[in-house]
């Protein structure tokens, strides 16, 4: 993925969610993982990369092209990519299948038959074929998040953005969702994700970005970040979260 951030800043009132962040994703990286304390700016950065929020200052470039702030360019940016929320955010009035086909028919110009085939293939890939007629309220959290993944992936997005995909799940469901994401990483899907699952981050990341207090504290390969971080902040954070 070819992404470059320049002086990216986002404020919410007085509080800085991001302070003048500049970063270039190293060449060859397919899976980029954001880690760091809650409130450090991970979600804000992912939302801006996904075109759901615009920076107060600074630029984002995908393949050297500036991501514009207009409604239309941002919408077409969102259409190319897939975004997964922590709280699944499925449409509760639609079945699993309809949740996946809605963007296919309304955004990606597929006819209903085609859309259904693609959606069923996605659902089956995540072992949800038997549940395609269920509404979100009839499914477990893990199943809902897998449906959300199917929805985000059905149109073959260039980039998949996952904002703490397992933070709302219990350990067993976390495992089932992480397994699916790991599979996507193996298949070569370009992914940017944030997570508090350090073991998972280490296993799938090509590159890790540590964010705290709206700033990038340290970046590097998982080996470097987890085994020999330069920064004291990173060392302390990892010491705390890996302790148990």
């Amino acid at each position: 993925m070819n992404i470059e951030l320049t002086d990216l800043t986002r404020r919410y009132g007085e509080a800085h969610a991001l302070r003048s962040v500049s970063y270039r994703v190293p060449e060859g990286v397919r899976v980029l993982v954001l880690i760091g304390p809650s409130g450090g700016g991970k979600s804000t950065l992912l939302r801006m990369l996904g075109g759901l929020d615009v920076p107060d200052a600074g630029e984002i470039r995908f393949d050297a092209t500036l991501l514009s702030r207009g409604d239309d360019p941002l919408r077409s940016h969102r259409r190319q990519n897939g975004f997964l929320f922590q709280a699944f955010n499925l449409f509760p009035h639609l079945t699993a299948l309809e949740n996946v086909t809605l963007p296919l028919t309304e955004v990606h110009d597929k006819n209903p038959v085609e859309a259904r085939e693609i959606a069923m293939a996605c659902l089956e890939r995540f072992r949800l074929g038997a549940h395609h007629q269920k509404r979100p309220a009839e499914m477990s959290g893990g199943q809902q998040q897998r449906v959300a993944l199917a929805r985000a992936l059905a149109h073959q997005p260039r980039l998949l953005i996952l904002d703490e995909p397992t933070s709302a799940l219990d350990p067993e469901m976390t495992a089932e969702v992480l397994e699916v994401i790991e599979g996507l990483c193996r298949d070569g899907q370009e992914i940017i994700l944030s997570t508090h699952e350090m073991g998972f981050a280490r296993a799938v990341a090509d590159e890790i970005v540590f964010l705290a207090d709206g700033e990038i504290v340290e970046t590097g390969s998982p080996e470097k970040i987890f085994d020999a971080p330069d920064s004291e902040v990173v060392r302390q954070f990892l010491g705390r979260v890996m302790r148990y």
């Binding site: 759901l52 077409s76 975004f83 929320f85 955010n89 449409f91 963007p103 309304e106 509404r135």
Partner: protein, 244 residues
């Protein structure tokens, strides 16, 4: 405690019901006195049914238009819709009927009582409906908008496929309550001499002094209109339910 409360509520309700039942049954009725007016009462009931049905349909259209105005990003549309709703809700229906029929309609050379009555009633109920619709749309969580945006829907598509289908279910009970109100409010149209149900009952009463014999059929006639709406609403609510 809970059992005690339930029991006492049941007893009080039961006693009240029995009391009214015996009062009504114990009364010495003179049905023969109003028998000659029965055809008028039936015709009046039919007129009420027609006026209500027509203004009900029109009020939904007006209500939806006002809601669109209130939610519009174009501020003059917002102010107009807001002002209209406040004025209509803040003044008595009787005044609106009188002004509408004796001032506005003659200016526009509208002479059809039925049409003017329907229009005034729909304009009145539409203001209330628009507040119900607006609240329903406002009650859909922000995360649903986010999700709709994330999959690349436009604002209009988000309303059509995600927000409105969920809002409709939430506003069903309040909307049918408003429909029942509209049916009963149509009784005020007697002031412009529209021969609807209440006017016929008043006339029968005025000429026979058989108060209960005139007004009991009125109550039953209105119930015959409002109860089916209530049942239809419950059925629809059940049919469209998607939570557990």
């Amino acid at each position: 405690m809970r059992l005690f409360l339930n029991a006492s509520v049941t007893v009080v309700l039961g006693a009240t019901f029995c009391f009214f039942f015996f009062v009504l049954v114990g009364h010495e009725y003179r049905w023969s006195a109003i028998a000659p007016y029965a055809p008028n009462l039936f015709a009046g009931w039919g007129m009420t049914l027609l006026v209500s049905a027509a203004s009900l349909i029109l009020s939904v259209i007006i209500g939806a238009g006002l809601t669109a105005g209130q939610l519009s990003t174009f501020s003059p549309a917002r102010w107009l819709a807001r002002g209209y709703v406040e004025i209509i809700r803040g003044t008595p229906l009787l005044t609106q009927i009188l002004i509408g029929y004796y001032l506005v309609a003659p200016m526009l050379h509208w002479e059809n009582k039925f049409a003017v009555g329907v229009l005034i009633l729909a304009a009145f109920a539409g203001a209330y409906l628009s507040e119900i619709f607006r609240a329903g749309i406002g009650s859909i969580p922000k995360s649903q908008w986010e999700s709709a945006r994330a999959i690349g829907l436009t604002g209009a598509q988000a309303y059509r496929f995600v927000i409105i289908p969920q809002a409709i279910r939430r506003v069903l009970p309040a909307t049918t309550g408003q429909f029942a109100n509209l049916i009963k409010d149509s009784s005020l149209l007697y002031v412009i001499g529209l021969g609807e149900f209440t006017m016929q009952a008043r006339q029968a009463n005025a000429q026979t002094y058989a108060v209960f014999e005139s007004y009991l059929p009125l109550a039953i006639g209105y119930l015959a209109l409002t109860l089916p709406i209530s049942f239809a609403s419950r059925w629809l609510e059940h049919r469209t339910r998607y939570e557990h």
